[in-house]
């Protein structure tokens, strides 16, 4: 199965981002393809390397970056949503890139299933 992942919620406040991570990781481990992970709305905040959670907690950005590196995944942070929330190339962690909303449409066309987390 070819999946697209859409994340609408920010880190820590909601569990959506954690669920998206676990789903993406599990799908890849089962041999499915993940065409793109698209970060939209408050979801863009998952990309900032400026987050600094307590040491005994998960580091949400770093965890996404590590997964990206392991599977060479395509992470797109929506530019319009990012600009509103102070997210830009200077603050995004490794493996994330900023791109247009059209890249969400592309994945909706190409993926067998887009799985949305949040809203």
């Amino acid at each position: 199965m070819k999946f697209g992942i859409l994340i609408l919620e920010g880190p820590y406040q909601h569990e959506s981002s954690d669920s998206a991570y676990h789903f993406t990781k599990a799908a890849l481990e089962k041999g499915h393809e993940v065409l793109r992970v698209f970060f939209y709305q408050d979801g863009v905040i998952n990309s900032t390397k400026l987050m600094e959670p307590q040491q005994d907690d998960r580091h949400i950005q770093r965890r996404w970056s590590e997964l990206q590196e392991k599977y060479d995944l395509d992470y797109v942070v929506c530019v319009a949503a990012a600009k509103r929330r102070g997210i830009n190339d200077d603050v995004i962690g490794p493996g994330f890139k900023i791109g247009g909303l059209g890249m969400l449409t592309e994945v909706a066309i190409e993926a067998d299933r887009v799985v949305q987390f949040g809203a």
Binding site: L8, T105, I109, A119
Partner: protein, 124 residues
């Protein structure tokens, strides 16, 4: 447009009230971008999402832009498959005359059928 051979069926569902959060506004931004891709797009308003297209909204005191009239731009994007859930509309004391656009009023079983037909959909 939208009926071409390779067009995919994609749906955007508005189900949240327009001004208590940004889901609806950014959902509309997404629709306007999707409209440029010549796909077979349907839009559904359901639950509190019906308020997104309520006419005569006055948001001035909140400092938030009234974006409901922007839904009228959907026509210019050839997005003509617009639907609204009857129960959501009527249980809020509204009718299509109260809306900035005129979506087709459908029943819950038609909502289900429409969703099943889609390749993918987004909810805002």
């Amino acid at each position: 447009m939208g009926e071409e051979e390779k067009a995919e069926k994609l749906m955007i569902v508005f189900r949240k009230a327009p001004y208590g959060s940004i889901y609806s506004f950014e959902g509309l931004e997404n629709v306007l971008i999707m409209g440029a891709y010549d796909q077979d797009i349907s839009i559904l308003f359901i639950d509190d999402g019906v308020y997104a297209i309520k006419s005569d909204m006055d948001t001035e005191a909140t400092g938030i832009k009234n974006f409901s009239p922007t839904f009228r731009a959907l026509e210019a994007y050839d997005i003509e498959k617009l639907y609204i859930d009857r129960e959501s509309l009527e249980s809020r004391g509204l009718s299509v005359d109260d809306l900035v656009i005129k979506p087709k009023v459908i029943e819950a079983d038609e909502v289900e059928k429409l969703m099943e037909e889609q390749k993918n959909f987004f909810m805002f």
